[in-house]
Symmetry: C2
Subunit: 235 residues, 2 copies
């Protein structure tokens, strides 16, 4: 039960991309007091972490943390393993850029942080429509994580539930963009590209760039993404 | 379905303590080819990590990994936060030494490793009898994690299940000790103490030391633990 005067503390996973920025703006608009958490997991570029820090501050989160995690040493993904090239063509099934158990690891840390902060709300920007074949973006995964979380923690033992919110779950990329714009998100400050350069400029050819650009086209909004000169998805 | 000639690859969580050493010996005795994983999460002592490495090699695991995780910066536990003293008296309810969402984070990494290794078995030495009030040692937590894991991963999507094994779940500490001895575990090489010294010598007064010593007494086995001279639980 939510008491009227009780602050609604939340932990928000913030990657620096379009979806998580919209999720943070959504949570703040709903009255949640938000602590953001980003993960440094051996991405090839740090631009999205810088974007996350900037977005967290501008959108009004209370605190921002970067947690360094050791996923890279396990290999198995083009995003963290330099021996696997990032694919430039559309893939079918589960993409090569899948990081093993990524959202499970990210949500587990968020759960730990929520427990320390006595926050009972966790927001994650996963999306089932444009989910690109990642199993840990599916609604049934989020539901199962929430059930597990309520058995894992003191809050669960004490009868207080932990809620995992995925407000973008059933929105298309275009609808996410429209929602974010209504909430005042400056998408030029977000980085979605799998291989952005040091300044956060996007390649324009990877899966993430293509999905993102198609979203802007479908939303009828000019794409504000900063692309590298050489490769521009809008050309 | 298990094919006869298929190696049964497993990831085994190994803390360096009595329970996880017995779990590893158990898994190997059952014919699993084991990869061990330990976590450096800002414990006050590194002795248990050294013990884990030694036990992994002696018991016959294929590989051993130490994953450094950033749980300490979140605070909230006497095990990782130097500002909270380790309690020396018996506590009721959830102990101060509880690390937020620890087993959730540990199992999440183990799941990531299992996915990379294409292992479908994860072993964890949690125990519901002597579980000391940790919510994430309960059988219902393990079951919920397994369900979530099967929705989180490629294996789950491809219809291959991930199994979380907790073979010690319903054993008393005395029964665990008897099992380990039958399987050839040298318990003098294990470290359970919350505040072991650099050589792995145990304090003899913390909850973990008391539970462990009572286990040896109840099992009718001489306690092989190396205690510091000053504090000896057996005195």
């Amino acid at each position: 039960m939510q008491l009227n005067n009780e602050p609604r503390l939340a932990v928000v996973l913030l990657s620096g991309g379009l979806d998580s920025a919209t999720t943070l703006a959504w949570a703040i608009a709903q009255g949640y007091e938000c602590h953001t958490i980003s993960f440094n997991y051996g991405q090839r570029h740090a631009a999205e972490l810088l974007a996350a820090e900037r977005l967290s501050r501008r959108l009004g989160a209370l605190t921002h943390r970067v947690v360094t995690i050791d996923l890279a040493q396990m290999g198995g993904s083009a995003l963290t393993d330099a021996s696997i090239p990032v694919p430039e063509t559309e893939s079918s099934g589960i993409p090569l850029t899948y990081v093993p158990a990524r959202n499970t690891v990210f949500l587990s840390y968020s759960l730990a942080l929520a427990e320390v902060l006595t926050a009972r709300h966790i927001f994650i920007g996963v999306n089932a429509v444009d989910y690109s074949g990642y199993p840990d973006c599916r609604p049934e995964f989020i539901e199962a994580f929430e059930k597990m979380a309520n058995l894992a923690t003191k809050a669960g033992v004490e009868g207080q539930s932990v809620k995992i919110h995925a407000p973008l779950q059933f929105l298309s990329k275009a609808e996410i963009i429209q929602t974010g714009m209504r909430l005042g998100v400056d998408f030029s400050q977000t980085v979605s590209c799998y291989q952005a350069d040091d300044e956060g400029k996007a390649c324009g050819v990877c899966d993430a760039c293509r999905l993102r650009h198609e979203g802007f086209v479908q939303a009828g909004v000019a794409d504000p993404t900063h692309y590298t000169a050489a490769k521009n998805v809008t050309k």
